[in-house]
Amino acid sequence: MNLLRSENARTVLALGLLSGAFILFTGAVGMIAAFHEREIVNDVISLGQLLLLLAPSAAGFIAADRLVKGGAAPREIISGGLVVGLLTALPTVILLLFNSEEYRFLLDLTLKLVPFVVATYYAWKLHGAGSDQRLIIGSWLALVVLIGIVTFSFALIFEIKGDLRGVLPNISRDWVDVVTFDQRKELMTGISTLLLVSLGAGAAGSILFMLPPIPRKALLYGLGITLLVGAFGETVRLILQENVDRDTLKQIFRRDTLRQDPALMLFVVSTAAGFLWAMFGQQARLGFSNLEPSRRRAVNGLGMLIFAALLLMLPWLIGRTLSDVAVTIGIFVLMGLGLNIAIGLAGLLDLGYVTNYAVGAYILAVLTSIGPLGRLDGVFTFWMVIPVALLAAMCAGFIFAVPVLRMRGDYLAIATLGFGEIIGKLAISDWLKPLIGGAQGVQAIPKPIFLGTELKNPEQLYYIVLFASLVTLFVSIRLNNSRTGRQWMAIREDEDVATAMGIDTARAKLLAFTLSAATGGVAGAIFAAKVGTVFPNSFTVFISINVLSLIIVGGIASNPGIVIGAVVLIGLPELLREFSDFRFLMYGALLVIMMIKRPQGFIPSQLVSHEIRAGVKAKIATAD
């Protein structure tokens, strides 16, 4: 008992149980089995098995960090890693036993014992507190009966269904296959393998932490890059496909999976590169900051030039499928930059941004469609309608802003949320059906034509999105440093004081909503041209929420942050399509983790990092 009371032991226990719960949960929702479908290295490890390894080793790594701070010796740290590994596997092992034919009786036994154990525990506690004997016996009996009823009903359900699948449908054969490393037939061997792997991973995590910093960094780089390339093998293959001949490709990949030798080579090379970076990266950075300002600018300029060239050549480098993803990302970057004017700069929480997107899309659809709903017979081209879509979205932004000008904070959010819903309902309504097609939407939207060529591939549409994003980026950087931007920031900080500075807050807010809507309209129009059809169910509240999330995850009021946010929140789910619903689980988990661990976003704007540092300072000040 003394051991359990020590801080270190509790840390290890908590981390082990946490990673155990993670494995159990991901298994029970079916994530492990689904992830097993994607192999990382051919015949070596799958993404599902990676989860089984990653949880204990990450927990072991973190445990080692805490133990070192708690002053533990190396031997204790490794045993901490082992315990974490054991605890990680334990819940899964118990579930495996309960689920098997031979050891089902354990479940029955547990269910029968639980009421007695729990009741006795509490009776013991009451006894320790010096309660009356009759009270102790009475509460013991009551607890046994109460808990007994619950466990009995559970037992009954299992009895009827025959196995755990009645309650946990994803505890399937596939799951058993993954967690026993394909040894379903010999359960005990499978369980031992799982335990060994988990113990090893936990210990490996803690040993990794104890390595000197340079090899540790190098190994982490190597592992990270190899696993990423493996996990996104399909994507990497698509990129290589554009530039490498088929035979070489076949030697690297077996279908979409990395072969063993190339994987090993990649690991060695990336570890070596990581090693060099860890050794000399610091010096390189130091050398860079010691350069004369003119030279430094030259190096920066060169970097920018390379980046620009990459952006321009991107479609040729990544091929069609990924270009399509890039266009989607670009559409969301456009919307992110737009919404950021309202949220990031002016502090107006607009949850109805989809309105502008829908207006832009429908304007383009109706004005250019050559189908039955496009009565204009294709007189207008994409290029002529883009400004119209922009203006229409601005009008929509303006109209919806007028009634909510006096609202603040949460009330504004709710009202704008309502507007978004209204647009969705209008789009699907019978009332507007003759105009915009109701649930059938508008079809046959022609692709843009540029200098006689039809831009029908994502590789070509990419340039439209790129151009629009760059223009928006330029405008929003200019706005950020302008008088107009300042007035928005003042309103965001304190509306009353802003008024006292002589700012016409109503006018400034109208301007923010209107400008913010503009890029939404353009994004919608590009979307409509890309897809070729426009349906009402493309315009749900999830668009608004996606745009909001990418701003927050990337870094509120930070332009580069918004681009990164769009890549992560829009791009990654596109690449994980085969995992269907689990994408949203991961998406949600990412949001929660981000808000806890890095509330300022990936690339925080100066302003927000100021604020967070100020918060830390304030905390330190109050702690004194």
Binding site: V497, M501, G502, I503, E611
Partner: protein, 236 residues
């Protein structure tokens, strides 16, 4: 003629009758103190003058013009600046950005010079001009709020409880500053709970009591007025 003339204003919060016919005058170059206990209507009076609230009855004449229906933001350009209660600095903007915001309505070339004179008045702010305002101490934030209000080149400065929440040592400094600003020719309307300090620098004072002016006199007379001494100065 008075620079500011408040005639019988009635202001309501919803159904609550907060100001029940308040009248007073502020002459050019004066320091006027509005004193009174919590809830007497001091801040409401300031908010009404500055246009953040509209009086239901009565008029407010500024330089002969009725401003009782004017929107708050239009008054800054007319020369009325306010230092809001609780300082109200833009916590996430730097000191210099805060000062720039003060000159928001101005488009003349004198902003740089005024920034220099603000730093002259408050050297402390110059030391911290790149620092985020939220990290300043209470006293520094008060300086910043006052300096920011001055950046609009006001003729009339409304100060709402400048001593609130400050350490006693700093309170003296703030009132010193107010005196110096007045010496530069800025008319000052000061709302204070710290009647003792306010009446030391003011020329005249008005005592507000539950939404009405109870006593009005010169500051020197108010200091020796028995009721004021008992109620607001803590002298028996």
């Amino acid at each position: 003629m008075a620079l500011l003339q408040v005639n019988e204003i009635h202001t309501y919060y919803g159904n609550i009758h907060a100001l029940k016919g308040v009248s007073f005058e502020v002459d050019s170059g004066e320091i006027i103190a509005l004193i009174g206990s919590n809830g007497a209507g001091k801040t409401t009076t300031l908010r009404t003058i500055s246009g953040l609230m509209a009086p239901r009855e009565g008029s407010i004449l500024y330089d002969g013009e009725d401003i009782s229906a004017s929107r708050a933001y239009t008054l800054v350009a007319k020369g009325i600046s306010m230092v809001p209660e609780g300082r109200g600095v833009f916590a996430k903007l730097t000191v210099e950005e805060n000062l720039d915001m003060g000159a928001y309505t101005r488009r003349d070339g004198g902003i740089k010079a005024d920034l220099a004179s603000a730093y002259e008045l408050f050297p402390r702010l110059e030391e911290r001009k790149k620092q985020v305002a939220g990290t300043l101490s209470g006293g520094e934030q008060q300086m910043l709020a006052i300096a920011r209000a001055l950046m609009a080149r006001p003729r009339l400065l409304l100060l709402d409880e400048p001593s609130m929440g400050l350490a006693p040592v700093l309170v003296d400094g703030v009132f010193d500053t107010v005196q110096r600003i007045a010496n530069e020719g800025v008319t000052i309307l000061l709302v204070e709970q710290n009647a003792h300090m306010a009446l030391q620098i003011a020329d005249r004072g008005y005592v507000l009591q539950s939404g009405e002016v109870a006593i009005s006199d010169t500051a020197a007379n108010l200091r020796v007025n028995e009721t004021v001494q008992r109620t607001y100065l803590g002298i028996d």
